[in-house]
Symmetry: C2
Subunit: 223 residues, 2 copies
């Protein structure tokens, strides 16, 4: 990798937003350096590269920083145009992918909200409602028929890839093949791909973190 | 306008998200039909074209619907490529425009939140903090130097174009040239452009609506 094309990703191992970028870079075959950030003690470089949000992921390409995971994914696709593309060429298809990309972000945020919500039942209800809409919408997108990993595949695998660990710790069933057969089978086929396998955080490590998180939250509520 | 290139915008006169699309179409010189929607009695067409959110704006191009204002603006720019472009060609510059587009959306939502917030002082504080960050960020974007109206110009004029009416009704100073000289002068120069003048809702109509809205809100709080 020449200095003229230096790519660095500042991330945190558990962040789904970082995982999106990591997976996109791997899928496109772009060599990059990874810098793990300690979010409790943010590095001067992170603060310099993302002064607005001070968050990961930050992609730095030849000293120029790009922030916000969806913005980074579009940048990656527009900069490395040869070979595999994450978004379709057709403007209408691109618009549909972008629409569902934003929607999947809402669904993922609703799911993460369940872990901290005071009214967990209500948070679950909202999540399942949105998940049902996503399942319906995906029927028209036929993403499973695509042989190349695209933007929506990346978002789906990152949103739901840790579901088994989350279900184990929180005792909730997030994805049920009966209710969401398309998303479930789509996710399972993505999780079999080597590039995905090497990117998802290890199951045991996620379970340990979630247990710690769950205990800290319940202790915080108890005092 | 041939039937092979039929463009319809479903909107609501006061919606800033609709105004973004209307302005983009006018700036690019794309002929379109406008359909005013009654949001208290949504039309079957609106529900058909935006079954997920059931909201305006919806752009329908040759019977195919596109939803979400930022997604629509990208679609417009990618579909009508000749002539005026809303986004720059360079991928890095595009990423910066997209980053600030999302940020301007946050700032606008914070401003709209002031009108309904229980703790108006806190809502104002949050808005001014975010507005200050936007003012700083725009220094590096040099948008005022551009002679063509771009995506950020559209978002700025829509976000702050009704500030005078809002200030008149709510007695708050949203934009102060002392604190945000760049955004204020940028907005003022945009408001002078004929294409903008014919797109912004009439001042008196906005004031009437806001007065009605303010009275309804205070009555609702009183009972």
């Amino acid at each position: 990798m020449g200095e003229e094309n230096k790519v660095t990703l500042h991330g945190m191992w558990l962040s789904p937003y970082v995982k999106r970028v990591e997976l996109a870079l791997k899928v496109k075959g772009i060599p990059f350096e990874y810098v793990e950030e300690d979010l409790s003690n943010k590095s001067p470089l992170l603060l310099k590269y993302n002064p607005v949000h001070k968050k990961v992921p930050v992609l730095v390409h030849n000293e120029k920083p790009i922030n916000e995971s969806l913005v980074i994914l579009e940048y990656i696709d527009e900069t490395w145009k040869n070979g595999h593309r994450l978004l379709p060429e057709d403007p209408y298809e691109r618009s549909q992918v972008r629409f569902w990309a934003v929607y999947i972000q809402h669904v993922m945020e609703c799911m993460l909200n369940i872990f901290t919500a005071e009214d967990q039942e209500k948070a679950c209800e909202e999540f399942y409602q949105k998940l049902g809409v996503l399942e319906d919408g995906m029927k028209n997108m036929f993403p499973v028929k695509s042989r190349n990993i695209g933007l929506l595949d990346i978002l789906i695998v990152v949103a739901f890839g840790a579901c088994k660990a989350q279900e184990e710790v929180f005792g909730l069933k997030f994805l049920d093949p009966k209710n969401t057969p398309l998303i479930t089978s789509w996710l399972n086929s993505l999780l079999e791909l080597p590039v995905v396998k090497e990117s998802v955080p290890p199951h045991d490590k996620v379970v340990s973190f979630l247990r710690f998180f769950k205990e800290s939250s319940s202790n915080a509520q108890a005092y």
